[in-house]
Symmetry: C2
Subunit: 297 residues, 2 copies
């Protein structure tokens, strides 16, 4: 622990939407006194310096050596290589990742001698934009921070992760890494596949019918918004969470096929009943909105 | 036409989200001087009177007799009965409907002696909420008003429809009623089915896993927002536009099945390429946002 009055040095590896937003947030709220940025792209480091999102840019090993806390905010395929390398460099430091899948990453360091210094984390927030240009100060406010497999982390490392979350503030939810990946498939990953597929459906039609999008209204924008999301971020997520995503995708296709079959049979009574069942999503979306610490959006 | 200085009397039949919002808008912008409300529910009429959304509530035949313009804003299944009845009452009045499907409605009055007094219209705007409580003043601003089969309407009736649209302001797009129904299936109706199905997919899972929604973030809310939409409004739309909705739904299921097959084969290269293709939706969503007269949201 730092002596009172001395602020933490935080390294952020991966200066994109998540890493950049975390840098701005932790500097603004005083959790971090000094932020070191590390990115494979020199131009991202330069932009982050120019916009005062980070205080300095350093090579990974120098950055880790100077830090109290290292946050890994790269795409998830990079994380499985990066995390063991970072743990190799660690003495007293705490390391957290901020990736969207957890089980494969946790497995990659299960036997690492420094496993205790690592806390697996997933802030449930994002936008359809990516890159340091998309970084914003309030991205994480009042969202959920999932912390996984906390029994495998040192107590002081867990305390740092909780303290970081409270500083934003984010509400901590503890889950096993496998349960996290299943839940994330349901409430995040499938939404993205559904949006990508909907965009492709309509774009295919646009080839014949130039004017189709003149009619697109707010409802359409809302359902295809996530289709703007980056392939560099999402393909590694779908690769790592393939099995759960497949399960949920099968269920989603089945639900759509059920609507299809009702249309074919003109069974609009059952169709009506299914819409009423779907309306129950109100309870989830609006119930949580009344709870000030945990907003959906 | 009214003499200069004398404001139009407008009747609105169906005091829900669309009818109520139109009442507020046309009174505020001066297009209407006096608004008469007609609803099958006396409580809706009373609420609309109490909130000063309408100036008086009358039975249908009295309302039509006193009006210059009659707007029909009921669910589309009611419209096919209502429109011929209203045209039976009409002398000089102009009648517009504001429904989400057009071809069956237009067909229902094809041989009506007063067909010329009717203009088929669809304001491309809405929210997932319904009822007079959901009415709002800016719902239609800068959205698209589709006017269909204008060759079948009298010139002065078309002029009133254009003048109403310009007063809000909305941008007029002219389409044949059949083309409208096809386009609406792509940019509106399929989004709703996709949201309903996604909500059911996740709600089914929730039965086993109480905590799943703690993790839901903004992306999830965005894709399932439309699943809150009313069955009373949407079942008649799906019934009337069944054939086109089935075509688009088949395509959407095929796109999802393609993603499924790529996951099964672990062909993440093609998966990556498809996401990049889907990203092209940016061009549509953001291109139109730069054009001030036509916003998506």
């Amino acid at each position: 622990m730092k002596p009172a009055g001395q602020k933490r040095v935080v390294t952020i590896v991966g200066l994109g939407l998540i890493g950049g937003s975390m840098a701005i947030t932790l500097k603004e709220n005083g959790f971090a006194g000094h932020i070191i940025g590390v990115d494979k792209e020199r131009t991202s480091e330069e932009k982050a310096l120019r916009r005062c999102i980070i205080d300095e840019a350093l090579p990974l090993n120098e950055a880790v050596a100077k830090s109290d806390l290292v946050l890994l905010a790269t795409p998830v395929d990079v994380l499985t290589d990066l995390l063991p390398r970072v743990l190799d460099l660690v003495q007293h430091q705490v390391v957290m990742d901020l990736g969207s899948t957890k089980a494969p990453l946790v497995a990659s360091v299960r036997e690492h001698p420094k496993r205790g210094r690592y806390v697996a984390a997933h802030p449930m927030a994002g936008t359809e934009y990516s890159g340091i240009e998309a970084a914003q100060p309030n991205l994480f406010d009042h969202k959920v921070m999932v912390l996984c497999d906390l029994g495998d982390s040192d107590a002081d490392a867990v305390a740092v992760a909780r303290s970081l979350s409270a500083s934003i503030p984010m509400r901590v939810v503890e889950l096993g890494s496998d349960a996290h990946d299943l839940h994330a498939a349901y409430v995040s990953h499938i939404s993205h596949i559904s949006s990508f597929a909907l965009a492709l459906t309509v774009l295919a039609k646009e080839k014949d019918e130039q004017r189709i999008f003149e009619l697109a209204s707010g409802g359409f924008s809302s359902t295809v918004r996530l289709a703007k999301s980056s392939a560099d971020m999402w393909v590694p997520i779908f690769r790592q969470n393939r099995d759960y995503v497949l399960d949920v995708l099968d269920e989603h296709i089945n639900q759509l096929a059920r609507f299809r079959s009702l249309l074919i049979k003109r069974d609009f009574e059952t169709f009506y009943r299914l819409i009423e069942e779907a309306n129950d999503i109100r309870r989830i979306l609006e119930g949580s909105r009344q709870e000030p610490v945990f907003e959906m959006e």
